[in-house]
Amino acid sequence: MPSTTYGKGLRGLSLATLAIIALALALVFFYAPLDADQGFVQKIFYIHVPLAIVSLCGFIFGAVLAAGYLRTGERKWDMRSYVAIHMALIFGIGGLITGSIWAKASWGHWWVWNEPTLVSFLIVLLLFATYQPLRFSIEDPERQSRYASVFAIVAGAFVPLNFIAVRLAQEFVHPRVLTLGGGNLPGSMRLTFLISLVGIALLYVTLWKYEMAAKNARSQVRRLRRTLLGDDNIRPAGRSAAPS
């Protein structure tokens, strides 16, 4: 086992994440102007939208890593893909909850069907919610990795397709705040938003690295115990959705 140390540079990265998130929060509360008709509650936008964007990118990142597994057949790629998708799911649920709060505060309903982004996001989340049950119900570890990777690739490709289809299904679409052409946010709001986005993205990367380091360390400890104590004295690993 090559001793890949995911812990390398983790301290610096954690500090940078903390600093950027602190800066983003400071900007959100003290620098960005209050929205003219939504007031204070609009500030959840700076958390909600980055969470959702990072979560979707995380799903696609997981698909790319899964393709790495199918290409090389090395377990570490499957582990990376697993951690990426599982982190993206957590971020996604956060995005959905903050989105719901924002919808309640600004539109008066916890859920609105005529907002295509919200609906597409829910569908993607429902699809990726199958990832863990799928892994859990395949016992053979090698097959588990292979099938999970195939699923991750298909589901990753589904993300953009689904957004296009749902967008087209709406006759009435809310004004787009963020477009490829730059959007129509005033400068101070855009700066705050971009810094929040960087902060949440860094948080994702940091958490991903932490979990990789922990999983890696656990498997190394297990291997050492097996060499020192012998196979018979180690409890067999319980069945799990996570790659071991």
């Binding site: 199918l70 569908i123 993607v124 429902l126 699809l127 919610a129 199958t130 049950p133 799928l134 119900s137 395949i138 016992e139 097959r143 292979r146 099938y147 990777s149 195939v150 699923f151 690739i153 298909v154 589901a155 490709a157 589904f158 397709l161 689904n162 289809a165 749902v166 087209l168 299904a169």
Partner: protein, 224 residues
């Protein structure tokens, strides 16, 4: 190609002799129409509501076929035999998708007229050609995605659960396009004679993308 045809013929012969899948799908669809009649408390329906009821019914009936698609292969060692044979593995994808497509077509030959008889307000005649076009494209998507999902789910312990859980979200975009494409055809007044081109194009594109995707990844589901 020849391999795929042989596999397809085997699947069709199996279905003709055992009558395991298609009759169940048809009965399921008929019962669902009755349930919709009581659930909606309507004698006839039309327009977008009718299109939605038809699409949802066909989708859930298709799920029965999707769940059973690879069961014989797994239980009777068909996978092992196929892997031992020196043939292209994509043949399995092609054959199974074609079989599922034919099952769905057989289902619709019965279920769509039954829908016209039981629930649909306007007469089924004028919208039929457009409806056939929409349903053919929808069946293609169901066949491709269904085969892929079924190929993944059949190797899991909880395959009857994993299949629909994974398949339904993947099929939502196809479902949107099918229902919205069929809606204008089934209106009582101002019915259009051709389905909206936009939705046909989306459906065709969706089928194409997933066909390519399934072709690219299916081999990995068969190696052991």
């Amino acid at each position: 190609m020849r391999t795929a045809l042989i596999l397809l013929r085997k699947d069709l012969r199996l279905e003709l002799r055992t009558m395991e899948t298609v009759p169940a799908m048809i009965l399921f669809a008929l019962v669902t129409f009755v349930i919709f009649h009581f659930g909606l408390n309507r004698a006839t329906i039309d327009g977008q509501l009718a299109a939605g009821v038809l699409t949802a019914t066909l989708l859930f009936a298709a799920m029965l076929g999707i769940n059973r698609l690879f069961v014989a292969e797994r239980e009777q060692g068909g996978f092992d035999a196929f892997l031992l044979a020196p043939v292209d593995r994509s043949a399995m994808l092609l054959a199974k998708a074609a079989a599922l497509f034919l099952f769905l077509a057989a289902l619709e030959v019965i279920a769509v007229p039954a829908f016209g008889l039981f629930l649909l307000g306007p007469s089924l005649g004028p919208p039929l050609p457009g409806l056939i076009a929409v349903l053919a494209l929808a069946d293609l998507g169901l066949a491709v995605i269904g085969t892929l999902v079924s190929g993944i789910a059949v190797q899991t312990r909880a395959r009857d659960l994993i299949g629909p859980m994974m398949g339904l979200p993947l099929l939502i975009p196809a479902l949107i396009a099918t229902a919205r494409g069929a809606g204008p055809l089934l209106r009582t007044v101002h019915a259009s004679s051709a389905p909206p081109g936009k939705w046909l194009a989306i459906l065709a594109l969706y089928d194409l993308v997933f066909a390519l995707l399934a072709y690219a990844v299916f081999d990995f589901l068969l190696e052991d």
